[in-house]
Symmetry: D2
Subunit: 331 residues, 4 copies
């Protein structure tokens, strides 16, 4: 539904068909009152479209993507189905045989800032997970420069909307409010995605990642804190000068990027609410010589629908920022 909200404002896009399963045959304003202005029905099957997005559950999404691609329609898959490049790993983490392993190679991991050129010519985009987006953008600059060791700890905090609209006691207001808890301690599905993509950025790197997501009492937003010892040969000056140099390195790396903001003060997720920013604050714990990088994004925008549109813009030759210009809704 976030995709529809954003596309509604895109000057070059007309939302031609919205599918749904439980809500099929309802007017979109009945199921989702805030979208009533679209004035269209939710359909059981995708109608005639020039471009498609899939937010179906895993496996079902891959099956739908195959059908759409056969029709010659490009697609951004917001599900996880095309993210892991090895079918065996997919089976291990998602408990199912991949329905279209032959397309895994071709599909492009749509972390736009890192893979802009591949995205432009892709037929299938595997839109990154919300947590990996926050972590990969946070670590890419130092990883590319070989400035960090392989001992990576990622502690993420997420709003409840990341879990979708499905019901569960854990997401009941009375349970989630005034509460914080870690989950997926045996391994979150975004972990293999992170590891695969960290390696893709720096192939000789064998990252040892501990990733622990937490549910906190807010609706939208992810804040990830990444902790990594600096490599011995990190080439940063000592002390406060090192922090400054690090900041400059990040600013240089993301220079000109419309949606990555490198900042010099600890940011809050609220600075990204409803918009497509990833805000990154890199610093050093001088007492222990550990890198700390904090990144914030709206899990439903840069972590999902916004990045999907960013990719679509590139695939269709539109300006990359088109339809994504809104500033954050604050406070």
């Amino acid at each position: 539904m976030e995709l529809v909200r954003l596309l509604y404002r895109h000057p070059e896009v007309e939302v031609a068909s919205v599918t749904g399963r439980s809500a099929a045959s309802q007017h979109i304003g009945e199921a989702l009152p805030h979208l009533a202005d679209l004035d269209m029905m939710i359909e059981p099957e995708l109608g005639d479209v020039d471009f498609a997005f899939s937010s179906l559950p895993q496996v079902a999404s891959a099956e739908a993507v195959v059908e759409v691609v056969k029709r010659g329609v490009k697609v951004v898959d917001i599900s996880a189905d095309f993210r892991l490049k090895k079918a065996a790993e997919y089976k291990e983490w998602y408990g199912a045989t991949h329905p279209a392993p032959e397309l895994l190679e071709e599909s492009v991991y749509g972390l736009t800032e890192l893979y802009r050129d591949q995205v432009k010519s892709a037929r299938i985009i595997a839109n990154p997970g919300c947590y990996p987006t926050s972590v990969l953008l946070a670590l890419a600059p130092v990883l590319k420069e070989g400035m960090i060791t392989e001992d990576i700890i990622v502690d993420s905090k997420s709003g409840v909307s990341g879990a979708g609209r499905g019901l569960g006691l854990m997401y009941h207001f009375a349970e989630a409010n005034e509460n914080v808890m870690a989950y997926s301690l045996n391994g979150h599905r975004h972990l293999p995605e992170m590891v695969q993509e960290l390696k893709a950025i720096q192939p000789e790197f064998e990252p040892k990642v501990t990733f622990l997501p937490h549910l906190i009492p807010m609706t939208r937003g992810i804040l990830s804190a990444c902790y990594v010892p600096l490599a011995d040969n990190n080439r940063l000056p000592a002390g406060e000068a090192g922090k400054k140099a690090l900041l400059e390195l990040y600013k240089e790396f993301y220079k000109g990027e419309p949606f990555v903001r490198v900042v010099s003060v600890s940011p809050g997720t609220k600075q990204t609410l409803g918009n497509n920013y990833c805000v990154i604050y890199p610093t050093i714990d001088l007492r222990t010589n550990r890198l700390i990088v904090i990144s914030c994004l709206d899990n439903l925008v840069k972590g999902a629908a916004g990045q999907a549109i960013q990719n679509m813009n590139l695939m269709l030759g539109f300006p990359e920022t088109m339809g994504l210009e809104d500033l954050p809704v604050y406070p």
Copy 2:
């Protein structure tokens, strides 16, 4: 005010004198309506008492404690003034010369579970900080056993009440709600306290601690996630058996402790709201062989007023749990 709330229910305590500065000369129910049943005035100076607690700001607290101790009255200092044992370190972190360095040695760090005997005979208790309480209880069992390395990462999430009633834009509802942010990136004052006390538990240990607190949109509660590589000689069996053995070690360590609950499922802070528990969940990230220990507590109870009463009970010869028997308010 949390102390008064709890003491009001303590069968052996009568609240004889409550001091305040801005609220002096008001009825307690005027300043704090939920305490109206106490029916007493807030005084500018402490009256005649048999036992005292201080929650004054730093420096002022030490000065008040000295006066009270001179009168022959035992005291629990909830401020930070007697926590750091070295006057030089106090000056470095609190920016002031300690007003009573001669008492630093004598005062006892009141982490009750670890220093029960010393607490019993103390005149001055330095009541631990909320974050250090959550971290020290989380790591003590493996630290005592020498099972961990010195590379400790602590990522804590705290409700807003930890910052007190002082006003600041950061604590304005419209700013703190739907937001999460890290703070004190150059070093939180609870860091030297943690390091000092980790060493006290295991003297040959030189902990390298990165501690990052976060403000999340809830009123009460702290959840700390501690990440530490296991030592090579950790003596734990491999795989899932190691997790089980670890859990047993924690259960054994805290056996009989009324306020430490070792659990086998990831806990939420809500399981401690308004009560004196510290809930601890130890586990292992088997992919990286790192220990993860999660601990939860109510920052105003086990992290402050509750632990202060627990210490008072020991100092006055009452049962340790007296007045602290309430179960958590849930949901």
Copy 3:
């Protein structure tokens, strides 16, 4: 579960048997971690007890109450089954034939402050609904004095816990957070209960009540605002003196009541969190000569489990406040 939390601290009560349906055969700490200290199993059927509470759903509750009463066990029914005294009205509002209409007459409406004597000798207590408790206590003083007209508007705001632990999109954190909405616009089941009991207080009164409950983003607490034109013969002095006289009338009416606090400043629900108070603020809109009475309570305590224990105390000859002495958890 709130009942168990409170009873655990009651010096004269031992929780002997806890039943549950979906959670039957689980340890209570497995289903409800915050109650783990009780160390007992959830049973499918009630064990051997001297006194019982029922929180079963409607109809099922009445059936269980009949069984228990047959055994000679007194019971407080927290469900709605014995509140409406006319079986026909029960059928109209609850859509089912009452399973034990013969007991409706005998059961006592357990609004303790108004029916203390009847409660003492009752076998079955119909524990009042959370909204009616807030409204009846707010209006009883002026109603008894015949000072108001029959045109009553009640606008109530409730936390989400009032809806129980059942799942529903409306209670999903992402929906309920940052949202407020009115519900039950065609008539909430607490309306006939209010009307019946307003009449019981003042038999010649034919109240025309509009009652509109709202769901707001908090877990616990109800605040009701009652708007009623003053009767012509209200005997209050004009202007500010009238407000004062009104306040005195309320203070006099509830003098000595341990759980009703009449206050002179607009109260917040937080002043009742976790405790058994009903806080009432009566005033007059001098521009329109309308009475405004605001009342606050914790829907799970004075609005349910706390009032149930208050009633039990009277039925068993214990001091009325026993086990209910906790002050509110604030902030």
Copy 4:
């Protein structure tokens, strides 16, 4: 700051000058990080502009407006300074002599839906208060038709952002969270504004309004519930048919309005978050023959900055919806 957020996306507007007092001489991104993309300085005095908005505090705003109008620049005053048309009433409610009473007559009350034509040709717009906007749009249809009596009760619930960024214990997260309270019981400043404008809609009407605002734990949003007995000659059919007819009357009244949505299901404020809608749900309490109208809006958008831009669009000849097309951010 909400005005700047919205204007940034307006295709015909360039933000040329932003003034501030405490933040003067700061980069806008330093004071308000989410607006950093504007890349401009906050100035102490307004620069050269073609159109102006004022959000200054009362009195100061009128003084600034006079200066700006003298320059020949049209202005929307978001403060309350030009809302009350009688200088004496202004003095009574705002405690100050109006600095420009000669302009009160000329300025137009900018409730766009009702005063579209006057707005188009105005030099000064008194932008309506957030509460009055919600109430006047809710009652205008039945008021114009003479279908209601004069006994109006308005119970409003507002998020905390309505109070601005000023600090106060009442707005501290730990106080406002998990709390609801009524305020301004002696009369809120929006009351005389409501009364004046209700009379303006229906001159022979002498409304007796009780207005009670409540603070609830959310950031944005106002929901007002208006309760009014239907007039005897209301011309609505009896029973459910009356509800239907009422709904049709509202739909007809607001037909073609881009920002007023009349709905047939009880709405939540979340359906307006960040956008310029006012969502209205009219119904009848058939048991008492009272009209209930519920209206929702975002206090910072339709209740302030959004409506200000809507008015500017008309004053400058732009399409009324320009820059305000965003759908609500949901969830």
